[in-house]
């Protein structure tokens, strides 16, 4: 069996709130294979974002381990080994779209010129051609999100961590970007861990969906999605899709009859 790209073992995390230790995650075990798209779903407060913070090195676990490429990496050294896209686009208002897209490359030591040239090469592919010199304030929400995506992809890391990247968008933009993300990923094949609270989105995008319980979060269900690639929106009404959806809703305790 090949080594998974990401292996999270017996992970426990606590944080302080109002002077109390709260357990955010308890004994979490999960892995992500190379070229795999994994969605994490769970009720709010299940520690989904905390898990991404831990994998990216922003937050330290109290127990357990994170292995990337078969090597255990302590929290302090994890920063920079993944590419993390947080909920908000977090574009710098003082940088143009092109300069924003090149940010991760610059942080990773590329010269400004080189970073911007690399970003420029991918602009058209991300539907941003002609908008290189616009400031974020001049871009629509969907375009800003695509610039943030480009920045995340350009970091050239094997593992992308996406925290509800469509959370702030309206339904139409959201659906367009989902379609666009799935197509892009089917070309790129970088591994992805994406947090979402939308079951349909998870089934549509992922190879595998991992369900976390309410706090303290732990893995309560894993669902391999048997939809073929490339994915199309027509699959949203297929029986396979609906069956997966039902299982996941049930795992979340959201099916009719479960609600008290």
């Amino acid at each position: 069996m090949p080594t998974p790209l990401l292996q999270v073992s017996n992970l426990t995390a606590t944080y302080m709130e109002d002077g109390q230790h709260l357990t955010a995650l308890e004994d979490v075990n999960l892995h992500v294979d190379l070229h795999e798209f994994v969605c994490l779903i769970g009720p709010s407060g299940s520690g989904k974002s905390t898990l991404l913070d831990i994998i990216s090195g922003l937050f330290a676990e109290v127990a357990g381990s994170v292995e990337i490429d078969g090597r255990e990496i302590p929290p302090a050294e994890r920063a920079g080994s993944t590419s993390y896209m947080r909920q908000r686009d977090l574009l710098m208002p003082w940088r143009t779209a092109l300069e924003n897209a090149a940010l991760a490359l610059e942080v990773h030591g590329h010269t400004k010129t080189d970073a911007r040239a690399r970003a420029q090469e991918r602009f058209a592919e991300f539907g941003l051609a002609g908008f290189e010199d616009r400031y974020p304030a001049q871009l629509s929400g969907g375009m800003r999100q695509r610039v943030a995506f480009l920045r995340t992809v350009l970091a050239e890391r094997d593992l992308l961590l996406l925290d509800e990247p469509f959370g702030a968008l309206d339904a139409l933009n959201r659906s367009n970007l989902q379609q666009w993300l799935v197509q892009m990923w089917e070309r790129e094949q970088q591994s992805v861990v994406m947090v979402t609270h939308d079951v349909d989105e998870a089934v549509f995008l992922a190879d595998r969906v991992i369900v976390l319980s309410a706090r303290p979060g732990t893995v309560i269900h894993e669902e391999r999605i048997n939809l073929p690639r490339p994915r199309t929106r027509a699959m949203l009404t297929s029986n396979t899709f609906l069956a997966h959806r039902a299982v996941l809703l049930d795992a979340l305790g959201l099916l009719d009859g479960d609600v008290a």
């Binding site: 922003l58 920063a79 920079g80 993390y84 908000r88 710098m92 940010l103 400031y135």
Partner: protein, 256 residues
């Protein structure tokens, strides 16, 4: 464009009308020149005393620029120190805020006692008045940096220095420029006040001496120069801001 033109032309027309009204009022009421000179008398003073005015303007302007420069450097350094270290912040920041309530110009007589009649005491008063808006705005500007953005940079593996340069400085610059605009206007007041208290040169000194001799047109000429100096310096900071921060045009309405 016509909107912008109107914004420039409007105040100028009002100003010219006021000056005209003043000229007429002085002539109609036959007010003595030593009491209230007409604008034409003030112009006359510019014509007759321009060498004198220029000489003293140079002194005041250098006090303003040196004082402001010192304040800028000191404000940035303390601002950065307070932002970067919690111990320094706890010890210094409350004092900094509290000290803003003290009118710094009242220290001018002390500087006269300690440093005499030269340039130094005026520069010090100027620097003191100009310092606080710069220091406080630097702290507030650095603190306004989006924490999520800093986390993003940290997740990319950026060092503290990188985060400071890539996120904190650009986030703080609009507020630092805001502070600089206030400070530069304060600087002119500081320098003139320093000269009032005791000086041998400068527009404050020239005003004081001219007033004592009832050379009122010259007093007005000094006032006009000081007003222009304040406005020009204020506008200059605005121009530098617009060149340095081109993106601001799209995120906020600009002043001036």
């Amino acid at each position: 464009m016509s909107d912008r033109l109107a914004r420039i032309v409007g105040p100028i027309v009002v100003l010219l009308l006021l000056i005209l009204g003043w000229e007429v009022a002085v002539r109609v009421t036959d007010t003595q020149t030593w009491m209230l000179p007409a604008p034409s008398d003030v112009l006359g003073s510019f014509r007759d005393d321009w060498r004198l005015l220029l000489e003293h303007t140079r002194v005041t302007l250098s006090e303003v620029l040196i004082g402001f420069g010192i304040a800028l450097a000191a404000g940035l350094i303390t601002g950065i120190a307070i932002d970067s270290n919690r111990v320094i912040e706890r010890a210094l920041y409350p004092l900094l805020i509290a000290s803003q309530t003290i009118p710094m110009v009242v220290l001018a007589p002390l500087f006269l006692i300690w440093f005499g009649y030269g340039l130094l005491p005026k520069v010090l008063v100027t620097a003191l008045v100009a310092y606080f808006p710069l220091a406080v705005n630097t702290v507030d500007g650095l603190k306004s940096t989006d924490r999520e953005l800093m986390k993003l940079l940290r997740s990319m593996g950026a060092s503290n220095w990188r985060i400071f340069r890539l996120a904190k400085v650009p986030s703080a610059l609009p507020m630092i420029f805001g502070g600089a605009r206030i400070s530069v206007a304060f600087s002119v007041i500081g320098a003139v006040f320093g000269e009032f208290v005791g000086a041998k040169k400068g527009l404050g000194y020239l005003m004081d001496r001219s007033a004592a001799m009832f050379e009122t047109p010259r007093v007005f000429a000094c006032i006009v120069i000081l007003a222009v100096m304040g406005v020009v310096l204020f506008a200059l900071v605005g121009v530098i801001e617009r060149i340095t921060l081109p993106w601001r045009r799209y995120t906020s309405a600009s002043i001036l």
